[in-house]
């Protein structure tokens, strides 16, 4: 099957850079998924096919890699991604309260996206900042010792 979609020149250049660093073409699979996701927000079936063609592997094989990892998105996501730590130290320190507040405030639960596409809310395993629990990340930014009070102000920063 020929991809409906093709990779952009920019995406191909970035993937080529990764391919040059590894002994076999397919070893750049994860990097290629990251690159395309960076440009498009998520990995659609068409994007997957295009990357697989480019790496000369089957789309099934690439999908088995894509679906293995937590942060490769095979469904559309919102403009901002909230990753709420639900692991043990954050559990002890009360992440569940933050979750309840996020659900009420945004009207979505884990795995869902707001109707206006502003936020996707996902649970995340330990963010490695356990002395400052509870913690969450929005896009590339880490927030620690999050209180119900802070949360409003944090959310307001993202549009």
């Amino acid at each position: 099957m020929i991809a409906q979609d093709t990779l952009t020149t920019e995406e191909m250049a970035e993937i080529d850079h990764e391919i040059a660093l590894v002994p076999v073409r397919r070893a750049a699979a994860i990097e290629a998924l990251k690159i395309v996701q960076q440009h498009r927000g998520w990995i659609s079936d068409d994007s997957l096919q295009a990357i697989a063609d480019y790496l000369e592997i089957s789309p099934e094989e690439l999908d088995s890699v894509a679906t293995f990892y937590n942060l490769v998105f095979r469904r559309p996501v919102g403009r901002n991604i909230i990753l709420l730590c639900d692991s043990i130290s954050c559990y002890v320190m009360g992440y569940e309260k933050i979750y309840v507040q996020l659900r009420e405030r945004l009207g979505i639960g884990f795995g869902q996206t707001t109707a206006d596409g502003r936020f996707t809310l996902l649970p995340n395993a330990c963010l490695g900042t356990c002395d400052h629990a509870p913690a969450l990340m929005i896009n590339n930014e880490l927030f620690r010792n999050v209180t119900e009070h802070d949360l409003e102000e944090i959310l307001d920063r993202y549009h």
Partner: protein, 435 residues
């Protein structure tokens, strides 16, 4: 502030080689600052020694892996073939830190990236590897930025790249950022992830030391392990041994999280007691909270309880007490937190992160999680406790393909032992007594 320096308010003269040059009140050292404080002197010295000699020094220092298993680092290196038959070898820093409750490698990388890089160059030289990777957790954005910058500086100064410091030794270093999965931290699964595949573990033997990344001899070491190497080269194995208090050599980055007054990280001699760590460093339990138990080294270690407070936190003493030192970062269970809910949270994590390769783990962990959830909701039956115990055996050591499932069973089996009454109260009262 990410990290409180316990020792700023002490007057002890304890040596703290790993964190001596770390302060979060200022930006981390750049190359020049690092060099002015003795940085890269160990590398200069190492390059005058034979690779075998370095391995022997590290082996003699009794440095044990800080990634959880506690294997002698020099011994591990000594299994790498050195006869020239293998032109391609790899050294990998395991910076995937995803064990719940573990946050020490983040501090070391954000606090002093050059220390890790210098440790990696010396270690790579010792096994004569010409390519090295830092396998970094996706979430560690700041560490990634700082490491990238430090690597660029090291290349520009001739510490990395071709003909390092004119010795003819070549080493490339790459930063690989993962896309999130706990199993990537298991060293053979990490190799598959670096090869662009699903991160399922590999059968051992062959061990990675002989057949690792792309089938070539490979050493995978934890970040903290590698950060110790420059100091051992500078000061010698006897000095390193003298830093430890009990059965083990060196210092350790210990951590405490949960309901204590001052959660944090501290570099202390190997073998401090649990009491010192919790009471002196972490300031004791937070007001209104009592101590019930702790996982001493991350989520996959057995609970220790009050009777263990005076044991030394070294590999052997913790094992004798029935647990593992693991990563040395402790999670406290307080008396306001339901032990069943606590263990359910852990098993939810392990079930979600099982790679699915072998049946006992793939099927057994979700089942374990469901039983715990039903007990927590007040729907548990008395026979459930036996069922959970059966799981701790079926998923225990020797029955699964890697150590994830046995690790998952450690907090469960010890919770059934120490907090059995709490499980029974849920079943008798048909509800969680904490809710």
């Amino acid at each position: 502030m990410t990290w409180k320096k316990y020792w700023t308010d002490t007057t002890d003269d304890m040596e703290r080689p790993l964190t001596e040059h770390i302060s979060f009140d200022r930006p981390c050292y750049n190359l020049r600052d690092y060099e002015m404080n003795g940085g890269y002197q160990a590398l200069r010295k190492a390059l005058t020694l034979s690779p075998e000699n370095i391995t022997n020094i590290v082996q003699a220092s009794d440095l044990k892996g800080r990634g959880g298993a506690g294997f002698n680092t020099g011994m591990k290196w000594s299994f790498v073939p050195m006869n020239g038959d293998y032109p391609v070898k790899y050294l990998i820093a395991n910076a995937d830190e995803m064990e719940p409750g573990t946050f020490k490698d983040r501090m070391l990388m954000e606090g002093n990236p050059h220390q890790l890089i210098e440790g990696m160059i010396i270690s790579a030289f010792a096994i004569q590897a010409n390519i090295s990777y830092i396998f970094l957790r996706w979430a560690y954005k700041k560490a990634g930025r700082l490491l990238k910058h430090a690597m660029d500086e090291a290349y520009a100064a001739g510490y990395l790249g071709k003909n390092i410091l004119g010795t003819g030794y070549n080493l490339e270093m790459y930063l690989h950022t993962g896309v999130g999965r706990y199993i990537c931290g298991e060293e053979t699964a990490l190799l598959n992830a670096l090869e662009g595949k699903r991160a399922t573990p590999r059968a051992k033997p062959p061990f990675p030391q002989v057949s690792g990344l792309f089938g070539k001899p490979t050493i995978v070491n934890n970040v903290e392990t590698l950060c110790n190497i420059p100091h051992i080269i500078n000061n010698g194995p006897e000095w390193f041994k003298s830093l430890g208090k009990g059965n083990d050599a060196g210092t350790k980055i210990y951590g405490v999280s949960g309901r204590v007054k001052k959660p944090g990280l501290w570099e202390l001699p190997m073998g401090v007691s649990m009491r010192e760590l919790i009471e002196d460093c972490a300031g004791g339990m937070a007001n209104g909270y009592g101590f019930r138990g702790a996982l001493p080294g991350g989520a996959s270690t057995d609970f220790l309880v009050k009777e263990h407070l005076d044991i030394s936190l070294d590999f052997k003493s913790v094992a004798v007490a029935g647990s593992r030192l693991g990563t040395g970062t402790m999670i406290i269970l307080d008396d306001h937190t339901c032990p069943v809910g606590f263990v359910h949270n852990l098993e939810h994590f392990f079930a979600q992160e099982s790679c699915g390769w072998c049946t006992p783990c793939r099927e057994g962990l979700p089942w374990t999680e469901k039983i715990l959830l039903s007990i927590e909701r007040g729907e548990g039956k008395p026979e459930d406790l036996n069922l959970l115990e059966t799981h701790t055996r079926f998923l225990g050591p020797g029955n699964t393909f890697c150590a994830l499932a046995p690790g998952a069973m450690e907090p469960l089996q010890s919770a059934l032992k120490y907090f059995r009454e709490d499980f029974e109260r849920h079943i008798d009262q048909k509800k969680c007594p904490w809710r």
